[in-house]
Symmetry: C2
Subunit: 346 residues, 2 copies
DNA sequence: CTGAAAGCGCTAACAG
DNA sequence: CTGTTAGCGCTTTCAG
């Protein structure tokens, strides 16, 4: 069993130099003479020295770490955003930790507290609201950037897409196919994201002169289970519709499962449009018509903004990314039962 | 704009006590007189003091944090294990961070290094191998516990299920239904998990006197995409089989998608068995026959072992949890096309 | 019950 | 190019 872990003093002693020189050798190798560096590196090697990050972080007053707090870690959408965040972080020597909010105030508070306690330098939020007490005193909030969502109670830099326009494009696609009874599986309606996509849905209906049927708007939480349960309920209640626009691919896929379980075929009986264009959208059968969001770019931009914010030299400004309607096989003209040619599978 | 964050000295000054008393008040409120506590809490409140965790961690030589490193964060299996880990951690005042290995040596090394640098106190691994260089000198590894998997190159406490027996039970179920041409979508065959389940598959075939066809064993990585692509390939190559045993639910679901895209129905044409019994298994259509693993218990046990290991008083010993075959609607007697009564949906 | 004082291990001026 | 030195902010003996 080896003894206690060696510290920088042990290395300095063994190499016959000062601790400052050891520190310098490790952090700025070009600032020490070649033979000194060699002596130090030998001692480091021999002792198996690993610098203690705890001490470094305390001294530097920065952990070079950012927490990415997502709404629901089981939604693959966030994983792709995470990759973009990580990429930007790596380029700048930052680390990224991911947290799962699970739509739970306690968990959200926990992560905010962690940053206030300097566990990390900043927080990238992918959630739609903050526990009330954090709205009170903005000065007590740590550095925050919001990605993909928007939080109305605080004023922080945000990167997202034009959700209203995107939702509208999705519903216009269905209308162009002849659908008029269109169900919307929405996000939480007291949050920006749910509201914006609902607004786009309504705008498309209104422009086509279709009166909107409140019974066809169902609020979910973007999860697979919500999509499934809401549609199962709607069918049980006897709701009639020929198409569904879901505010996430996950809900769209859950909806398709529920439809199948009731003997309804997609797209022959019901057309379905999702949102996000996650990888799974092109892998399910039928491949999902959906709205593409540049997930990686959103993550990259959010982390870049965070770094700007932390460096203090720049006040980042909001960014809006474009979206694109991707038509695959889950939508079909009303009443038509012959398939279009397949495309879009991986 | 508030000034710099207040530290414990500011609080002490304002409350008219020493920093030791402030520290005590926050950590052991019962060890200070009532009125002193009140004065201190007032100052804390007024200043908005948040103790700096960086300093605390350095002083205590423990961050009360553990990293859970998983094979692939997009597999929901790990999320449920994570919940168990988190539960045990919370009870003991620990924090949990999740890392994604993505089957990449560099990423794995990165997380091991993070722990060696004392970013966290220990590492719970849910991966099947370590980069070679870590096998060399076990003394240089941080405290490790392995969950659900097993790593042959290092000797560390492990919690898992009897994978051989579980896989055997799955395949015996298919054999009992009359299937004899059974494809196995395995895990990586140079790792314990892939190997153990393959062994169970072979044992079941051998016991039934079925010669095994190497062309029907396909090695994947437990992911949705692997299940899809391997089965698509197999069909393209003209492989014949009436059933599939996949080493994960994700691969089973990917396989079902591939089958459907080629016009094959599940379970009418092909029976499919998964492994894990993740939530999605009961939500897909058809609901998946699969092996249930007590995911939460595995996570809870792994974290409990880690805490024992870190406390130093106990050397934890390996644990093995039981599994259970859950029969749902994705398997059917060979040649039969009428459905059994549905069950197992959420 | 409370205060003084000694660090945890490292980095970054500042001198030399 | 290298060493000396002064902390980062907190916790915890040890006295009182």
């Amino acid at each position: 069993m080896a003894g206690a872990a060696p510290n920088i003093r042990d290395v300095a002693q063994r190499a016959g130099v000062s601790t400052a020189t050891v520190s310098r050798t490790l952090a700025h190798p070009d600032k020490v003479r070649e033979d000194t560096r060699q002596k130090v590196m030998e001692a480091v090697e021999a002792l198996g020295f690993v610098p203690n990050d705890r001490a470094r972080v305390l001294r530097r007053q920065s952990s070079q770490t950012v927490i990415l707090l997502v709404r629901d870690i089981s939604n693959p959408f966030y994983l792709d955003v995470y990759k973009g965040v990580e990429e930007a972080a790596f380029d700048a020597g930052y680390k990224v930790l991911m947290g799962d909010a699970r739509d739970d105030d306690e968990r959200i508070s926990h992560y905010i507290e962690a940053v206030r306690e300097r566990h990390a330098d900043g927080l990238i939020l992918m959630i739609g609201r903050l526990p009330d007490r954090f709205g009170e005193d903005p000065a007590r909030l740590p550095p925050i950037v919001v990605a993909s969502e928007a939080i109305r109670t605080i004023d922080v830099p945000t990167v997202k897409v034009d959700n209203v326009a995107a939702a509208r494009a999705a519903v216009e696609h269905l209308i162009a196919l002849g659908h008029r009874q269109i169900c919307h599986i929405a996000g939480p309606l007291d949050e920006y994201l749910g509201e914006a996509r609902l607004e786009g849905y309504r705008a498309a209906l209104a422009a086509a002169g279709i009166g909107d049927d409140p019974g066809l708007v169902l609020a979910g939480d973007f999860s697979l289970g919500a999509g499934h349960d809401l549609v199962a309920d709607l069918i049980a209640r006897g709701g009639t519709f020929s198409a569904i626009f879901a505010a996430s691919d996950q809900m769209a896929i859950g909806a398709i499962t529920a439809l199948r379980q009731r003997g309804l075929r997609v797209p022959e009986d019901i057309s379905v449009v999702g949102f996000d264009d996650t990888l799974i959208a092109s892998m399910v059968d039928p491949a999902l018509t959906t709205i593409h969001q540049p997930r990686r770019d959103i993550g990259f931009a959010a982390m870049t903004m965070m770094i700007e914010r932390l460096s203090g030299v720049v006040t980042p400004t909001d960014r809006v990314f474009p979206t694109e309607l991707i038509v695959r096989n889950s939508t079909r003209p009303l009443g038509r039962t012959h398939p279009r040619q397949e495309r879009g599978h991986r």
